[in-house]
């Protein structure tokens, strides 16, 4: 067994004097101190903004730039008419190693589409952010490019994302009680939801008329 002996360098006389070395250390800290003091002052006066005085990113106000491949919170992409691209093929639910996706497919009114997700839930408390669902989706219906990474909640229920939040990343509060018909008028947001089901009222005449899917909470047994 080869042993490599690493000897500490012998200190020179100059270094052993200690005080010169203290002064060298002080030189470094003073240089940083006065440079940053000058830059901070200049920034307050609106000058030299390009020279950063600190490496700090003041988090809630400033966000760290993300890599384009960074996997953040999921979203469901939408068609031009604001319906989800998802066709309810269940591939993502099947491939999910954490089993955090719950899809309830329903029959789409358009005969060319076959199925649509009546319900699409992701339990973020369970999700491992592996991105398999994105990889496996044949329709480019689910992506992880919202850039949302401050996911925290006070309860497990609040970590459940339903289809509304998945389609509209600006919605942060989980909507627990919502009657999902399709096409659908959301009772929670007065029917107007961005990136949601707003534009599809012409597909079927009887939208929001109380056709209610009584859904059993499918993930209860997990």
């Amino acid at each position: 067994m080869a042993i490599k002996v690493v000897r500490r360098r012998e200190l020179t006389f100059w270094e052993k004097l200690y005080i010169p070395q203290i002064l060298c250390g002080l030189q470094i800290t003073f240089a940083h101190f006065f440079r940053n003091l000058f830059l901070h002052t200049a920034h307050h006066l609106g000058r030299l903004q390009l020279l950063p005085a600190a490496v700090t990113i003041q988090y809630p106000e400033e966000l760290r730039p993300l890599m384009s491949r960074f996997r953040s919170r999921h979203r469901l992409t939408v068609r031009e008419d604001n319906t989800p691209r998802c066709v309810g093929c269940m591939l993502c639910e099947t491939v999910c190693p954490a089993k955090c996706i719950t899809i309830v497919p329903g029959e789409h009114p358009d005969p060319n589409v076959e199925k649509y997700p009546v319900r699409f839930d992701i339990n973020l408390g369970v999700c491992v952010y592996c991105g398999y669902c994105v990889e496996v989706c044949p329709e480019d219906a689910i992506r992880m490019d919202t850039g949302i990474l401050d996911l925290a909640a006070y309860s497990r229920e609040a970590m459940q994302l339903d289809i509304h939040e998945l389609m509209d990343p600006t919605l942060r509060k989980p909507i627990t009680e919502c009657n999902l018909a399709f096409p659908h008028k959301c009772s929670v947001h007065g029917g107007a939801m961005r990136g949601s089901w707003g534009g599809v009222s012409s597909v079927q005449g009887s939208q929001g008329d109380g056709t209610i899917h009584k859904l059993q909470p499918l993930c209860k047994g997990r």
């Binding site: 203290i22 002080l26 800290t29 003073f30 101190f33 940053n36 600190a54 700090t56 003041q58």
Partner: protein
């Protein structure tokens, strides 16, 4: 008699106000200065009605936090001594300021006021006695906590402070020999003389070696970073590990107060206290012949400002040193104290004595 009492109370109030506020200010300076040194921004979130003032309110927030925190006394602790120890610590740090002169004699009407809370003939001895007594707070804290970690921290503190106390004492012997007084007011006045007509005879000029020994040893007295073995918050657990709430805050306050004491002492002993070069009681007398008369009150004010500036510069320097140097290992600390500073201090005294004797003989 009543007037004297009032004057003394006012002086004491001013000194207490300045010292405690400067100590509070230290918490801000420590955060911000370290942040600047380390390319960070530093605490800037505490605000009052949206005003942040560069994080100045964090000291206030700290105080509120400390006062409202639960005060936990360990079951094994000696309750009385455990409660007394932080008070000892702060008390001895605060009374030290009494003997430090922060200005020249103020003449108001026919009354002469020494700008010094207590004019003590042996002021220097008083200060070092009080600083030495300060170690009792630390020892008692370690002893009364009923915790082995705190006990060992207290032991380290004791050994360190006693060894460095000796170096300080011997280092300032040289100063006392040169100026021939232990009265701090007189000592500062003596530093106003000129050497060769144009160099102010400050301690740093006459006793440079003593200054460096004093600086190193006094830094060790303050228990701050290059010498923070008694505390070592994050790794080797110090004497106040069993303290919480404001009792802990008082130890923290003591640290900052001692830094200010040491800064004041450095200014007083080695940088001429309230002296300003070429400023005599009646005005500036420049060695190149110019003269600039200064009224009495302005002269006193300049003196106080000069002293404050010196103290602030030293506080700044200590803070800078604290964020520059890594901590000593314990054996290195002891070696530096006993085999480095102590012999240098003794040699300095010897050389000073010989030179003084030769000068007196007229060489």
């Amino acid at each position: 008699m009543m007037e004297v009492l009032v004057i003394k109370l006012v002086l004491a109030g001013i000194v207490m106000f300045a010292a405690l506020n400067l100590a509070g200010f230290h918490t801000w300076a420590e955060r911000k200065q370290s942040a600047l040194i380390q390319d960070r921004i530093g605490a800037n979130r505490a605000d009052i009605f949206g005003f942040r003032f560069l994080g100045l309110f964090h000291g206030l927030a700290d105080a509120i936090k400390m006062f409202t925190k639960e005060d936990i006394v360990p079951a094994k602790a000696d309750r009385t001594i455990h409660a007394l120890a932080p008070f000892f610590s702060v008390f001895f740090a605060l009374v030290t300021f009494a003997a430090i002169p922060f200005g020249d004699r103020l003449i108001l009407g026919d009354r002469i006021i020494e700008l010094q809370v207590a004019k003590i003939d042996v002021g220097l001895l008083y200060i070092f006695a009080m600083m030495s007594l300060g170690v009792y707070g630390v020892i008692l804290a370690g002893f009364a906590s009923g915790s082995n970690y705190a006990f060992l921290g207290g032991l380290r503190a004791t050994a360190q402070m006693i060894s460095y106390e000796i170096s300080i004492g011997i280092a300032i012997l040289g100063v006392i020999m040169i100026y021939g007084t232990t009265d701090l007011g007189e000592l500062v006045r003596a530093q106003g003389r000129m050497l060769g007509g144009w160099i102010p005879m400050w301690g740093i000029v006459t006793q440079p070696v003593a200054f460096f020994v004093f600086l190193a040893a006094a830094l060790a007295e303050t228990k701050r970073l290059p010498f923070d073995l008694p505390e070592g918050e994050s790794e080797i657990i110090g004497y106040f590990v069993e303290y919480s709430g404001m009792k802990f805050g008082m130890f923290f306050l003591t640290d900052f107060l001692e830094t200010i004491v040491v800064a004041s002492l450095s200014a007083t002993l080695f940088f001429g206290g309230w002296q300003v070069p070429y400023l005599l009681p009646d005005g500036f007398h420049f060695p190149w012949g110019g003269e600039l008369p200064v009224p009495h009150l302005l002269y006193i004010l300049i003196g106080v400002l000069s002293f404050s500036t010196k103290v602030l510069i030293f506080c700044f320097l200590f803070m800078q040193l604290r964020w520059t140097l890594p901590r000593f290992r314990y054996d290195q600390l002891m070696r530096l104290g006993w085999r480095g500073l102590f012999p240098i201090a003794v040699a300095n005294v010897m050389v000073t004595a010989v030179v003084l004797a030769l000068l007196r003989e007229g060489f």
